[in-house]
Symmetry: C2
Subunit: 488 residues, 2 copies
């Protein structure tokens, strides 16, 4: 028997949950069994190294051969404030959001998959539990669990119809190289899943982790808007985070998405998953957290009457560029009102906006440029160079609130790495900008219009101080590329 | 001798600074003498009540008759979080900014006055000291003071050429009903005026107050960006504020404009003068201060390479509407790059932007509607009505920083008074909005496009819950007017 590297292999465990172990060299991985069907247990494994893996499931022993597959890069991991696959290939998340797509009818699920096939997204935020909210009044075809005799959810009785289709969804995403950012809890609930109590929470998580963690493309998102899940305390979230980190034999990424109060740094937290249109704080969050910062909800392109769901394509992309330019990561969502209530953000279906094409363009730029870190002190200071230092000194006596205001009011959307700089000017309508490049070397300077998705070369090979003429309109960026000479 | 009510009347005091007193009934007003010309002292008075005023200047006594003038409304005063003239007529400041216009050549000063004649502004932010900054490299024709033998500024030696032209400027503004928001100190200085030391500061202020306070249209602004005037401490500003409040016999408004850290509330502070593009905090500032909040610098329409000076007309007006809708007040500025370096914000001259016309439109709406207070809880809550209360409870445990983030992320640009509501939707592109009007009565609902400056009636006489169709674009507002029934 052979299995491709990073693929999922499943073994039957019969009618009882047996202990399972998988070995290669010194390595030993112990995923848990789970109830796959009525009276039928299984265990799943993902071989991350080529070679002959041996296993023991209960008393049964065996082996299989894992064969390398260079087209596949493995799980995504955090590396500093960025991500890469486990083979080292960089991963730049450009996600989207279809919270309740696995709780819709099959036909709509197929339509969503067809849309994703040609869309520019490599990550998908999705809930296990169904969603209750305006535009989400329909009952799901299946719930993840069945109820007991008293009418309470029974986490020992998974509804296999739900989990089987979730398997199909995750496999389909995996084939499209889309990471499944699986949201485990959320507050938009009329069925009781947000207030199960910790015992049932952990039963549910144990099941989900055992069943889903052998998909290489799984990320765990403890919550959407954790603060709003009022039945779970801060300590409760920490319990959940530690539980998953311990139970997940495959060590997937773990995030917890906030509503307004970013979750404090914990050992199990691999990346920050933030809800905020406050793009001016992304550089500060990167600095404070020291892990990747994904702005998983900065507002959606759309036209519904909620402030988070009615951004113009340009406002949406302005925020995305502002985040990406300083080395943060972005997640898309779309909420155009429809009488049939099939809005992409919740149910999937089709995309109608102008943002996805421009999101793809941004993705192509970041993939060309690579991982960025904030570049400070590049804005032209009308007061001369000594002044900013003086101001920083003045600000030492400020309240936390004034310090935050200062951070925001002096934010710049400029990023760098050794070979590139990106200057994003946002809503500033400049006639010209003066960039300070290294005095030696050659650096190409291009002007990008994020709305029109055009780029033109301003200087083929500049150095030192250069003045770049700009069209005095919103949504302009500069891309500087090192051709030779010192790092940027 | 007769003088019109609220006009300035000047008396010579001869060659020495004499004590002066003006009486009417119980009232006694004692302005100080000042050096008007070489060896020539004068005292100025503004009679604010009709009748026969008696005076004593040194040993000399006399009287004059003040005659009423109903076309003039007197000084502007703070009243709650709004302003009115002393005859009770409301004053809604729609100011502009020409920091250094009195330090330019006469021809340019005349051009500025000609522009102001047809512009929509009723307040002008202007410095006494000249300005040093990009686009402000020219030397002023005159400084306010002369230097002594050691080369230090001598506040006992005013340059009468400067003050005489300042008199002409203030008179001209007064004739146009433009309030002169006189900035006493600022950091953009290459001559030493920002670091005179407190003794000279107070000598200068004594002179300025004695000479200028009889203009009914004077406001005192202690600073532009007080934090950046590093030679004056917080205690120093308080000393200055108390000094002016005590010396000014005519009790003009006193503000102090900040850079990022709004000045703490003081007894002498009549209104908050804030520099911030953070329009989402205006309602909070109003609540905290309890005095009028003027956002005296929220960014300028223009195209220069500084972030505060390159807003599109729409971004500028979006901020202005966001501020005005919750009952804050706004100040204009314009910074289009010009090779001759005559930019309105500093030197005056001509206006080139698209904002002034739209600023005039906003002014006309506010003058129609009257003073507004923030209207909370009107945004459509996708979670139902109980949810916001729950959230407020959750937020009690937040850090100051998270509370601030929450304040900003939940900001609404909606305002009300008894007869009107204004809903401004900013960059939200809504297809519809559901307003909750009183169940009884009749209320007209109009849809305003702030960019096109159009208004159309959506409902001639609505009541209760009404759904207003909107064009799903940025810059839309609703104006609700009570026709009959209970207050809005």
């Amino acid at each position: 028997m052979t299995v491709k590297q990073y693929d999922l292999i499943e073994f039957s465990a019969g009618d009882a949950p047996l202990a399972a172990e998988f070995f290669l060299g010194d390595e030993r991985i112990c995923p848990e069994c789970f109830l796959k069907g009525e009276g039928e247990y299984a265990v799943r494994f993902m071989p991350h190294r080529p070679g002959e893996w041996r296993y023991r499931i209960g008393e049964r022993e065996g082996s299989f051969v894992c064969v390398p597959d260079e087209s596949v890069h493995g799980r995504v991991q955090a590396k500093g404030t960025h991500f890469c696959y486990e083979d080292g290939t960089p991963f730049y998340p450009f996600g989207t959001t279809c919270y309740a797509w696995t709780s819709q009818e099959d036909e709509l699920i197929e339509e969503t998959l067809a849309t994703l096939k040609t869309a520019p997204f490599n990550k998908l935020r999705m809930c296990i539990f169904p969603k209750s909210m305006p535009y989400n009044q329909n009952e799901p075809p299946y719930f993840p669990f069945e109820k007991d005799e008293t009418g309470e959810w029974d986490m020992q009785r998974p509804d296999f119809r739900y989990w089987d289709r979730l398997d199909r969804c995750l496999s389909a995403l995996r084939e499209m190289n889309i990471e499944a950012d699986i949201i485990l809890f959320h507050p938009y609930d009329r069925w009781g899943f947000s207030a199960l109590g910790m015992e049932k929470n952990l039963q549910y998580l144990r099941y989900a982790v055992a069943r889903l963690s052998a998909y290489r493309n799984v990320w765990w998102s403890l919550a959407n808007e954790y603060e709003m899940v009022s039945a779970i305390s801060m300590e409760g979230w920490d319990t959940i985070g530690r539980f998953i980190a311990k139970k997940d034999a495959f060590h997937h990424l773990i995030g917890i998405h906030d509503w307004v109060n970013p979750f404090p740094r914990k050992e199990w937290l691999t990346h920050a998953s933030i809800q905020s249109g406050e793009v001016r704080l992304v550089a500060a969050w990167k600095r404070e957290y020291g892990i990747p910062v994904v702005i998983d909800e900065f507002g959606y392109e759309g036209d519904i009457p909620f402030s988070w769901g009615n951004l113009s394509a340009f406002e949406f992309m302005d925020r995305a560029w502002s985040i990406a330019a300083v080395g943060g990561y972005v997640t898309h969502g779309e909420t155009f009102h429809r009488e049939d209530e099939v809005l992409w953000w919740a149910k999937g279906g089709k995309l109608y906006g102008k943002a996805p094409e421009r999101f793809a363009y941004l993705r192509s730029i970041i993939e060309e440029v690579g991982a960025l870190e904030p570049l400070k002190g590049q804005a032209i200071d009308p007061n001369g160079t000594g002044f900013m230092a003086l101001l920083a000194k003045i600000a030492e006596g400020f309240s936390d609130r004034s310090k935050l205001m200062l951070e925001m009011s002096s934010a710049e959307f400029f990023g760098r790495n050794e070979g590139h700089r990106v200057y994003y000017f946002g809503r500033q309508c400049m006639r010209f900008f003066e960039a300070e490049l290294p005095e030696e070397g050659e650096y190409r300077v291009e002007v990008i219009d994020i709305r029109e998705m055009t780029r033109r070369t301003a200087f083929e090979a500049a150095r030192g101080k250069v003045r770049i003429e700009l069209p005095a309109k919103e949504g302009m960026a500069l891309l500087v590329t090192r051709l030779k000479g010192e790092a940027l």
